[in-house]
């Protein structure tokens, strides 16, 4: 116990102050090459990042600069710090450690990939180019260049996600683009009252839920993005089932959705996002066809308390058309229990026609955003007043239900 002894300094060699960080921690546990090159770690890394950002700019891509390519090749080579020991830079055949301006001396694997890139470029420029021009119309090169810029940002990880995992670029370029034709061409979505959505600042969109699969939520997301002048993103509060399923949870997080819980709802609202909630939950989306357009119970009204705490308006939203996409005439309860799902629908086409039965009916959709219900006039303690919460919940529910009836009366037919 009393074997106390002084730990002598072990830093070897006369090191200058600038290199102190690289020198003083000689950790040799299998990662020898790290210690030597530490001195320029942060700087080199950040510099490389900045350069890659410049490169990711589509205008640079389309810039038709003959030197662009070679500039790219030699650009991101981090130059070893002048004070770095030659032993540190020369350990092993690492391309990073090579001095800048030596692109011909590449590892063989690099050459293969480069020639593939060359071949693709040549093919597009040569025989395929004319075909592409005819098929895709004028200006396809610019679009291709834009696409390449996007591809590069994805492949190099040069994009940002927020703390919920929301990836705005992927959502706009891929996810929304994939859903948009379904909204515009297939369901011929009509959006009314988009001016009730704030251009900036938080809002809570409360809508009716239906249609077996949450297509209504996706359509609302497209509607809000395309019909607000500032292209707002809808951040949905989704059921926990969404975050348990592999694949689905990844997409949901990247599209900006999160778990329906008070903490997340309030955090998003305070960040000034438009948050979407479908308070009927599984009771609404999985209700039988006979109960269509009859709103179910609105949960426990937790969404109202989140809005009150954040002081953001509640925008009631009524969706017509989603009820008829999969007319649910039965529910395979035993199977649902076996699979751990809330319901397994039986529709006139599903499961009888197999995967074909999963094609939604081409109904005509209308999404109406109602007058916002302000909540900022209530005192802060109002969020803990159950009576007020019930009243506000009822008010929102009534508004949505009445709007639904009104829209149904105006509707000519389910499909037109």
């Amino acid at each position: 116990m009393s074997s106390a002894r002084e730990q002598a300094g072990t830093a070897g060699g006369p090191a200058g102050d600038g290199e102190a960080r690289a020198k003083v921690i000689p950790i040799g546990t299998g990662r020898g090459s790290r210690a030597g090159r530490d001195g320029r770690g942060a700087r080199g890394g950040r510099a490389a990042q900045r350069r890659t950002e410049e490169l990711a700019d589509p205008t640079v891509l389309a810039g038709a600069e003959p030197g662009t390519e070679s500039g790219l090749e030699s650009g991101p080579e981090p130059v070893p710090a002048p004070g770095t020991e030659p032993a540190g830079a020369g350990t092993g055949p690492e391309p990073v450690s090579e001095p800048a301006g030596a692109p011909p001396e590449r590892a063989p694997g690099r050459g293969v990939a480069d020639s593939v890139a060359d071949a693709v470029g040549h093919a597009l420029a040569g025989p395929l180019g004319g075909l592409a021009g005819r098929l895709l119309g004028r200006g396809w090169e610019e679009r291709a260049a834009g696409g390449l810029g996007f591809l590069r940002r994805r492949l190099t990880g040069e994009y940002e996600v927020d703390e919920f995992g929301f990836d705005p670029e992927l959502t706009e370029k891929v996810l929304l683009s994939a859903v948009r034709p379904l909204a515009e061409k297939y369901f011929r979505l009509e959006v009314r009252g988009a001016e009730n959505l704030p251009e900036k600042g938080g809002a809570l969109v409360v809508a009716n839920h239906s249609g077996v699969l949450p297509l209504d939520a996706l359509m609302t997301q497209v509607a809000i993005h395309d019909h607000t002048p500032t292209h707002r993103h809808l951040r949905m509060l989704a059921a926990d089932l969404v975050f348990v399923l592999p694949g689905v949870n990844e997409l949901a997080r990247k599209a900006g959705h999160t778990l329906a819980c008070n903490e997340d709802a309030q955090r998003l609202l305070e960040l000034g996002e438009i948050v979407g909630v479908w308070p009927e939950g599984f009771k609404g989306i999985g209700k039988p066809f006979a109960d269509r357009y009859k709103l179910q119970r609105f949960g426990r009204g937790g969404f109202v308390s989140s809005a009150l705490r954040a002081g953001v308006p509640i925008v009631p939203c009524s969706i017509v058309g989603a009820e008829e996409i999969y007319p649910m005439i039965g529910n395979a309860r035993t199977l649902a229990r076996l699979l751990g799902l809330p319901y397994v629908p039986i529709t006139p086409t599903f499961p009888w026609l197999g995967p074909l039965g999963a094609v939604p009916l081409p109904t005509k959709w209308t999404i109406q955003f109602g007058e916002p219900i302000p909540t900022d006039s209530y005192p802060p303690e109002a969020a803990d007043d159950p009576m007020l919460l019930f009243n506000l919940t009822d008010e929102v529910r009534e508004t949505v239900q009445h709007t639904l009836y009104k829209l149904l009366v105006q509707r000519r037919s389910v499909f037109f």
Partner: protein, 365 residues
């Protein structure tokens, strides 16, 4: 008479860095390091004789904190600040889970028992982890210090950390005169950090779980050392360093993004396959890949650092992105370096542009 700081776990990289930092702190007279083996790292931080003279004295005591001997050390040197860093996912030189658990839990109990008896102790700093929040799909996306996960971690290091924090809370109740600071660190990475996640990122190809892209947060090792230093001295004006704080760099990255920035290809595999491989890696001691690590790489975890920035008064010098960039810049370059990938796309783009213009003319003809 200046402060006497007792540091446990000095043999680890973080402990050694912390000793370096606290020895430079004015007002500290003596630093006592306790561990099973002396630190192999440098503890001076300088070789300049003038600056060496300014450093606080350092003494190493070879002791096992699982035994009551540590009480004698505290009494002998008149320790007033206890910094408990010996709470780790792995033990040095041992992969036995029971040894790790004993060091974490029994070690903390012994240390706290000794500190409770020592009237001179005024400050206690404990290194904890954000894995006390677990990683589960049914929990809120962002954890603040007050939140409790729906299901407490059921085993492994996370459970140790939960238990350690429980004992620390008990200590704080029994010794209200001691300033207690619990720091919940997100994954510490950096050029030298010896954490399981740092080892994972050093793999040439990263196995990931198919269908999941976890959100991750990192703390750079420099920030970790600085936060520990600030926690073990008197707080600056307008800040407090008593309580529980999440420590993480700003910003969030998803695993696939981090892998691409590191230039490491990912291999998505089904969850059972990854679990099996992780078990195999553990058994062959290639890589310590615990089940909780698996959960982190499946569901991810993000914590709120408002308390750290506003109450504790520390803004991490590295964001999550910058911390990763530092690792990328200092480690072995990956198989698919981002610059290389960017080079391919720009090659295609350059080809397109140069020859596309005459093609447009050809169409008109």
């Amino acid at each position: 008479m200046g402060k006497v700081v007792l540091v446990t776990g000095v043999a680890r990289h973080l402990g050694s860095r912390y000793v370096q930092a606290i020895r430079r702190q004015p007002g500290v007279d003596l630093v006592v390091g306790v561990d099973l083996q002396p630190s192999a790292h440098d503890l001076d931080g300088t070789t300049d004789p003038d600056r060496l003279a300014d450093l606080a004295e350092y003494r190493f005591v070879r002791a096992d904190i699982r035994r009551p001997t540590v009480a004698g050390v505290i009494a002998q040197y008149g320790v007033d600040t206890v910094v408990h860093l010996n709470v780790s996912t792995t033990a040095l030189g041992s992969t036995s889970r029971s040894t790790v658990k004993e060091t974490n839990v029994i070690g903390t109990m012994q240390l706290l028992a000794a500190a409770q008896k020592a009237a001179g102790v005024q400050r206690l700093v404990v290194k904890s982890t954000t894995s006390v929040y677990g990683s589960a799909p049914r929990d809120p996306a962002v954890f603040s210090e007050q939140m409790q996960p729906k299901v407490l971690p059921s085993g492994g290091f996370a459970k140790d950390a939960v238990e350690v924090e429980g004992y620390v809370r008990g200590f704080a109740r029994r010794r209200p005169d001691v300033a207690v600071c619990v720091l919940r660190f997100a994954n510490i990475i950096g050029p030298h950090a010896d954490t399981p996640l740092a080892d994972y990122f050093a793999l040439p190809v990263l196995p990931t779980v198919l269908g999941y892209d976890p959100r991750l947060q990192f703390v750079h090792e420099d920030d970790a050392v600085e936060v520990l230093r600030l926690a073990s001295v008197d707080p600056r004006r307008g800040t407090t360093n008593v309580g529980t704080f999440n420590v993480a760099g700003e910003g969030v990255m998803v695993l696939s993004q981090a892998a691409r920035r590191l230039g490491r290809p990912t291999v998505p595999m089904l969850l059972p396959a990854v679990s099996w491989m992780a078990g195999l890696a553990r058994q062959t001691r290639l890589l310590d890949f615990s089940p909780e690590q698996m959960r982190l790489l499946t569901h991810g975890r993000v914590v709120d650092t408002t308390q750290l920035r506003e109450t504790f008064g520390y803004h991490p010098g590295y964001t999550t992105e910058q911390a990763l960039a530092d690792v990328a810049g200092s480690g072995r370059p990956g198989l698919l370096r981002p610059e290389q990938v960017a080079g391919w796309t720009s090659k295609v783009a350059a080809q397109l542009r140069v020859t596309a213009l005459p093609d447009g003319g050809g169409k008109r003809r």
